[in-house]
């Protein structure tokens, strides 16, 4: 391989993902910002100002903030003991519990919404918050628990031996060490609940909106694009501010820690009190995470004439209904095809980006750029596609790839975040060992990096598929009558009166839950090679 070819390859590694992102993220989102900040070509902060002074819109912004804050606080409080139990105690079925608590997180928001309706929740603030806790429980347990299991329990013991009570040892030794992970997890939960869409739309009812749902309402119902754009500006600014503040705080609290392998930090519960604690937490997990899904399943079979497949049958012929132009069965096919295409796009672009991030000098910049979509709501992305990609040469309005591209864009950051740590954890000396054994640079890549990354890529593909399958915020903007996906159909069905529509929504949610669950279970079967 010549130097030129190597150079071309290196540039392409950065240019391809960056180009994709420029085109399908920066350009659409930028168009919205431009429309909100500079309508008609010159900067005019009028619409943004109006948004900030309008009493009802200010109320919406305020509600957005505090429902997110409340949801975050509750999630952390409820999940922290769970994180402790999962990371520090050994009990039968621990592996299963760890895998199972992730399922709610990858479930489509629409399914979560329907599950809580099935559970008997009326649209209310309480329903929103409980659904948010359900949805984000795994985020806190996985991030904080993952970190916790690497903390040396002997630190704790040292404090106790020095005379600290159990609580005091936790407060003075464990909590400060956990703070970066805790802050990071809380920030992610806050962002997710701040930009939450499906849950609010379904469980908020007509009277409660957040910035996210209001952007959708202003666009899709009131056709008021300027107000929507101004709202997007406010939302993006708020998200960026949160990211900056948290980034600073995380940096300040980061301490050098002696980390241990997770294998030897867990132990059996010894005293009766400990067993009670572990047991209580497991019951909470089962009730909080399991009940909604079980009830959803039950409701999908509970037809008026007794248990049966009536609602599932209805999915095949409900298209006579005016809101659904195609039978819901077609939506299943659409969902699978789009999610498949989106997975190919996300893994292709995300894989290249991950290699560039892990290897290149400009990796840090690319890493930051690719994290942006995590903070920008899917609704904004979908809305951006709508207003930016409608002109030649980029008129994609009628392209069948429009939805897969949008879903892929949303999934790329997850792919990058799955593959980069694996790439980074490959010891450079492992590559050197291959070199001294006679492997050329290209061969080193094929023999060492390739096989290790391939498994991470498979896991990333599973995630991308699950995320695309349940993607709602962007898809709801872009779906045309014949390209509706399952989440969109479920949302439309829930908006219709009648037992049959509700039951059909439950049936469709169950199918979507099963498809997502299958993808997640497949991921769990693939073991990522231990490379450290």
């Amino acid at each position: 391989m010549t130097r030129l070819a190597a150079r071309v390859r290196r540039v392409a590694l950065v240019a391809v993902p960056l180009g994709f992102f420029g085109l399908f993220f920066a350009y659409p989102v930028g168009s919205i910002l431009a429309r909100g900040l500079a309508p008609g070509g010159h900067v005019d902060l009028g619409p943004v100002g109006r948004v900030l002074t309008d009493a009802s819109l200010r109320g919406i912004a305020w509600f957005t903030v505090w429902q997110a804050a409340l949801s975050t606080l509750l999630t952390v409080l409820i999940a922290l003991p769970g994180a402790y139990v999962v990371s520090r105690f050994r009990f039968p079925g621990r592996g299963l519990v760890r895998a199972a608590i992730v399922i709610p997180f990858v479930l489509p928001t629409v399914v979560v919404g329907s599950a809580f309706l099935a559970l008997g929740f009326r649209p209310s603030l309480g329903a929103i918050v409980v659904a948010h806790v359900f949805f984000n429980y795994a985020v806190v347990v996985r991030i904080v628990g993952g970190f916790w299991s690497h903390l040396d329990p002997q630190q704790d013991d040292a404090a106790r031996v020095l005379g600290a009570s159990r609580l005091r040892a936790f407060r003075t030794v464990v909590l400060p060490a956990l703070r970066p992970a805790l802050l990071g997890a809380a920030a992610i939960v806050f962002l997710f609940t701040f930009t939450s869409f499906g849950v609010i739309l379904i469980l908020g009812g007509p009277t409660r909106s957040t910035l996210e749902t209001e952007i959708y309402r202003q666009t899709a119902e009131l056709l008021n694009l300027r107000t929507a754009a101004a709202l997007s500006v406010v939302q993006v600014t708020a998200v960026a501010a949160v990211l900056v503040v948290v980034g600073r705080a995380e940096g300040r609290h980061r301490v050098a820690l002696r980390l241990r392998s997770a294998r030897d930090t867990a132990r059996r519960a010894r005293t009766g009190l400990e067993r009670l604690f572990v047991g209580t937490n497991l019951v909470v997990m089962a009730a909080l995470l399991g009940a909604p899904l079980v009830v959803l399943l039950a409701r999908s079979f509970a037809t008026t004439g007794g248990p049966g497949f009536g609602f599932y049958d209805a999915l095949g012929h409900l298209h006579a209904n005016s809101v659904l132009f195609v039978p819901p069965v077609d939506a299943i096919r659409n969902s699978l095809v789009f999610a498949g295409e989106a997975t190919v796009i996300a893994v292709g672009i995300g894989g290249l980006a991950a290699v560039a991030v892990a290897r290149g000098r400009r990796g840090r910049f690319l890493d930051g750029a690719l994290a942006l979509p995590l903070g920008v709501s899917a609704v904004t992305v979908g809305f951006g596609f709508l207003i930016a990609l409608d002109k030649a040469p980029l008129d994609l309005r009628t392209s069948s790839l429009l939805i897969p591209i949008a879903q892929g864009t949303v999934a790329v950051p997850f792919v990058v975040r799955t593959i980069v740590p694996v790439l980074r954890s490959i010891d450079p000396r492992l590559r050197e060992a291959a070199m001294t054994l006679g492997a050329s640079p290209a061969r080193v890549w094929r023999e060492v990096d390739g096989p290790i990354v391939a498994r991470a890529g498979l896991v990333a593909a599973g995630f991308a598929f699950a995320i695309s399958l349940g993607e709602f915020g962007a898809t709801v903007f872009l779906a045309r009558p014949n390209t509706q996906t399952l989440p969109v159909v479920i949302f439309r069905l829930l908006g219709q009166p009648g037992e049959l529509n509700f039951g059909a929504a439950m049936a469709a949610s169950t199918i979507l839950m099963a498809l997502t669950g299958a993808a997640v279970l497949l991921i769990d079967r693939v073991r990522v090679a231990r490379v450290f």
């Binding site: 010891d427 291959a434 070199m435 001294t436 492997a439 061969r443 023999e447 231990r530």
Partner: protein, 324 residues
Amino acid sequence: MLAVDDLTVRFGDTVAVDRVTLHVGDGEVVGVLGPSGSGKSTLLRAIAGLETPAGGRVSRDGTDLQGLAPHQRELGLMFQDHQLFPHRDVLGNTIFGLRMRQVPRRDAEARARAVLELVGLAGFEHRSVDELSGGEQQRVALARALAPEPRLLMLDEPLGSLDRRLRERLLDELRDLFTRLHLSVLFVTHDHDEAFALAERVAVMHAGRLEQTGAPREVWSHPATAFVARFVGWNLTTALGDEMVAVRPDALHLAPEGPLVGRVVGQSFRRDHQRLRVALDHNGDVLDVTVPHDALLPDVGEVVRLTADPGGVRTLPPERPDAG
């Protein structure tokens, strides 16, 4: 075989390897001995082509290796922490170098199996490298480096991470293997016992430079510099005359009429001998003194007198001013 001439490696302003000249003859086993940070691993990496030298020359059988990439040098390097490929089994690791050299599959496999047998791992072919013990991993690393029959085998701290008993056993095995296969070997270690036991010739490295090169016996009995003397365990003192001299611990004896007076500050039992630490009244120098394992030791705080065998005392050139 291998000739390193005037080799210098810099990292920014630090000189990690400083004009090192070292030759390894055909079938010769050479050990580079030095404390951590002395530049010995960097020396190996530069020879392997993993670091770019700032000056000097590395050649193999008269061929300049400058400009050859690591994979073209046909040198074997065993890393300190093995660096086994986690996604390949024992055989997959061992056969790797043969595959890179386009050896036909059947021959490569036969050769890899033979090497595994040589290092005592017959039957381990399809085990995952993750489930091996430290000693077994070390053997796989050795087999992997040996399989392609490199012109020169280089080992970075070959026994570094192993426990003592295993080290002693593998030490003997390695030495047998080197002679049996008539290998040219260059290894680095921080442990002088390991270097002396394994090498035919030892090069002591300090702050990037070679301080002394010679047979183990010669380096131990005639240390060329104060650093070498201290590193291999000699005492340095000015109490025997005007200038700094080195004294071997086993050349000092407890004697009621001895000329050196001091106070015992420490004692320890070392299996085949005992060791006293004595602080001299004259100038406070603390000397290590070897005492037979069955001798009755004076208590800490007791005043003792010492004599020194003239054969165990060496006058040394002054230390390099920049050597720290």
